[in-house]
Symmetry: C2
Subunit: 150 residues, 2 copies
């Protein structure tokens, strides 16, 4: 298990492989983002996108799945306060394969809770062509290994 | 249909009603955020949350659904570039009922595309007790009614 002390600013990771299907794009969008360029292939052809594209929130959710199956699994994670600068940079389409790049930007111990560390990380979701399709800065919390040893 | 010209900075709206069920919390989390405090009621009791709570991305998706069923429906929306300052402020639990408050913070015409306006809006997701559970600043794009009339 990796704790606050085990993470270094500048550390990068690449991981994950998520195959995006038309069925899943439509299923997510029908429930959470029923705009026609996410739910209807024909209507999408007449939209600004010109084709069916994934909801931006669906893209975020797919990246979260790769985080949970990846680095979160072996970290003493205490969840996230939120994210900054979430950007949808390129469309995500049926048949795309996504993966993740992360970089730790900053870390510091909580002033109010010495058992808790804050770790800010840049996340980029990348498609099979190397295009960044989504990015955000995650504001994570992680347990300290040795809170008393300051 | 409301265009860029029809939206005023300071304008507020309240809308939506989303009933959060245990089944939906678990279903979303099993697919996109399979951490045990989102997927397993017993394990959640031993977690920092002390009970089953919705994935933060699920909460965002539920708010998106209320946006699509609400103000997006009658707006000449061109999508969103992203969101800033997404924050998960309080847990969302089975049985909660969520609604939305929005306020338009800023608007300006795109410098590169005179047919497009940028509208930044604060969104707050609120539960039945009036607690803000999630908030973000949406960076929306909306068509102009009369692009030539500057």
């Amino acid at each position: 298990m990796r704790y606050y002390e085990d993470l270094d600013v500048g550390e990068t990771q690449e991981f994950g492989e998520y195959h995006v299907t038309k069925a899943e794009i439509i299923e997510f969008a029908e429930r959470y983002d029923p705009q026609s360029f996410h739910t209807d292939e024909e209507a999408a052809e007449d939209s600004a996108f010109g084709e069916l594209v994934a909801s931006g929130w669906h893209t975020a959710a797919m990246c979260m799945r790769m985080l949970v199956d990846g680095p979160i699994q072996d970290r003493a994670s205490m969840g996230a306060r939120g994210v900054d600068e979430l950007r949808w940079k390129q469309p995500v389409r049926p048949g795309d394969t996504l993966s993740i790049r992360t970089e730790i930007l900053d870390k510091r111990v909580s002033e109010s809770d010495p058992e808790r560390g804050y770790v800010d990380s840049l996340l980029e979701g990348v498609n099979q062509d190397g295009d960044v399709v989504i990015s955000w800065i995650g504001l994570g919390m992680i347990a300290r290994r040795n809170p008393g040893e300051d």
